[in-house]
Symmetry: C2
């Protein structure tokens, strides 16, 4: 029998901080660029089209000797029953013996690694003097994106939040963001950053240096003509075929990076621009790991529009999960079960 550590959301919160997760996510991108990882095929099943589905993402991080999976289910009708719609479980195993190492709640790990991803896209592609962040979407992921971006951009002074379907969610998030940063992330922003809910998306886009999109949208929310030169987009919402957040025409002359080019072409923000021929496959500048390792130049000029399409892989969940498990072992946090 094996000792297996089980970490729930509260325990994961105690042991993970965003600065460390940002380092780990960068490390995953670097490893992937260097060929030290394998992403296994995605399993996806709809129990009821548009209402209930599940997916299993899995992979292997050779350099860290771990493999494993994340199973995520989404049941739209859950909220009526007082159950979260999105539920995830991560299983981390030792790739030298096949023994299980730990089981983690997937929701907080997903939030942390996705927040880090969007911000890392900005770190490598946005202008370093960026002052204005526009967060499109005010759901579960939004606070993670804002927290990670504020950590990486001390220059950011103004955070705008736009919620396309439920403007009141943006109001609520903007009002509580300083508390969330302090209480959920242990971050105190003492440089006078303003958080504002915005209803007029067009004017917000025109004023933004960095735009992060994290919505379940299936039609473009942001028009090309609104985008000022030099804007950076991190698109993290599109992770399933048909999802789309920004005008496909933006891709006609943007410098575009992905987290996993094959997966992004299949299910990411670039799915539709590639399918329509607006973005040629060979015009994709590379994966973000190529920029992290310095093999490909990120932004080439201050006026260039850059896009990072982040669809997410199990690799991010597994290494972030391992980071949490190691920290929890040191602090003796979590439940040990004998399996």
């Amino acid at each position: 029998m094996f000792d297996l550590r089980v970490l729930n959301k509260e325990e994961i919160k105690e042991v993970l901080n965003m600065n460390d997760v940002i380092k780990i996510v960068e490390e995953v991108y670097r490893l992937k660029a260097e060929g030290g990882t394998t992403v296994f095929p995605l399993i996806f099943h709809e129990f009821e089209p548009g209402a209930a589905d599940m997916d299993i993402k899995s992979g292997w991080l050779k350099g860290y000797d771990i493999f494993g999976l994340k199973v995520v289910s989404w049941f739209g009708g859950n909220e009526k029953k007082g159950i979260p719609a999105l539920i995830g479980i991560i299983l981390v195993l030792d790739a030298t013996t096949g023994t299980p190492i730990g089981i983690l709640d997937g929701a907080h790990v997903t939030g942390m690694r996705t927040g880090a991803s969007g911000a890392i896209g900005a770190k490598y592609l946005a202008r370093s003097n960026s002052e204005t962040l526009l967060m499109v979407g005010a759901g579960h992921i939004a606070a993670f994106e804002i927290a990670a971006t504020l950590l990486l951009f001390p220059t950011v002074k103004n955070v705008m939040i736009h919620a396309p379907l439920h403007p009141e969610h943006a109001d609520r998030l903007a009002a509580s963001m300083p508390d969330i940063l302090r209480e959920e992330f242990g971050i105190t922003v003492d440089r006078g950053v303003g958080f504002h809910a915005v209803r007029d998306l067009e004017n917000a886009v025109k004023d933004s240096d960095i735009i992060i999109t994290a919505t379940p949208s299936k039609t473009p929310l942001i028009k090309k003509e609104w985008v000022k030169p030099g804007t950076h987009f991190s698109c993290v919402g599109a992770d399933m075929s048909g999802k789309e957040e920004i005008d496909p025409e933006i891709f006609a002359d943007a410098r575009v990076f992905t987290d996993d080019t094959e997966q992004c072409i299949n299910v990411g923000e670039i799915e539709i621009p590639v399918a329509r021929g607006i973005l040629k496959r060979e015009a994709i500048a590379g994966e973000i790991g190529d920029v992290v390792t310095g093999r490909v130049t990120g932004r080439e000029s201050d006026g260039q529009i850059t896009v990072f399409d982040a669809t997410g892989t199990a690799l991010l969940d597994l290494l972030t999960g391992k980071l949490a498990l190691d920290a929890a072992a040191e602090k003796e946090i979590g439940t040990i079960v004998k399996l």
Copy 2:
């Protein structure tokens, strides 16, 4: 957060008995034949060819409102380290809300459901007056096959065990089988069944009514000319491309059933006979569930040779796992963790 029950091998042994598992496995075959199940694509990865691999099997049992997966790793070098080579974990989730129900050690569940599978193949296809069982293979699975077959065939008086690579394993298993039945399965065989290790496979085959093969062989062990009319084979060993236990020519005039025809053609005992054209796809009589539901006749005459090719699906692990979780909940066995 959710209450999740975790069951290790000892706890699973306390709550599962072979008679109930046989019923559950038959129920899975029936459901599958009636279209109440979905098997998701198999994920398979070799870390080191021939030395270390892992697979993820997953699926959905609509009628029982559960879905989930089993991850199994095999690391050949583990035994030197004092770790089992084969390690499995089963995760059962609720298919109406996506919430996790339980996590189970996979080894005992796999043994129980695989033992039940081989015996159910014999129940529906072997002659009902069968007296002699030949078990080919004396590894982890053998005792499960023997236990389940003895439960279903009160007529069986003679059990021969052959271990192709390590004859001493067959000696050991034959000597300890009465104790194993009593201690591991709670079965007392008081009808004078004899357990014999046999080295001469040819003569053993000639004497057998039911032959169950559960080896990792990649070349046929049993020749066609040894097989007497009326013999039944349950082949449970071949579950990966290239594995093969019996002469492909046996399939030329046998009545053949599968547990999942697509999967068997890809990775089962029929892979090679189908690839070579010895067994035509359309000559496969059906899936075992078709016999369980009465839609297809099993054995057609006393002299016919019958084969059941059982590759195993996650459906078996999930419903057997659910049976164990329900029994454990009733008896308050296992560890509850909050995830």
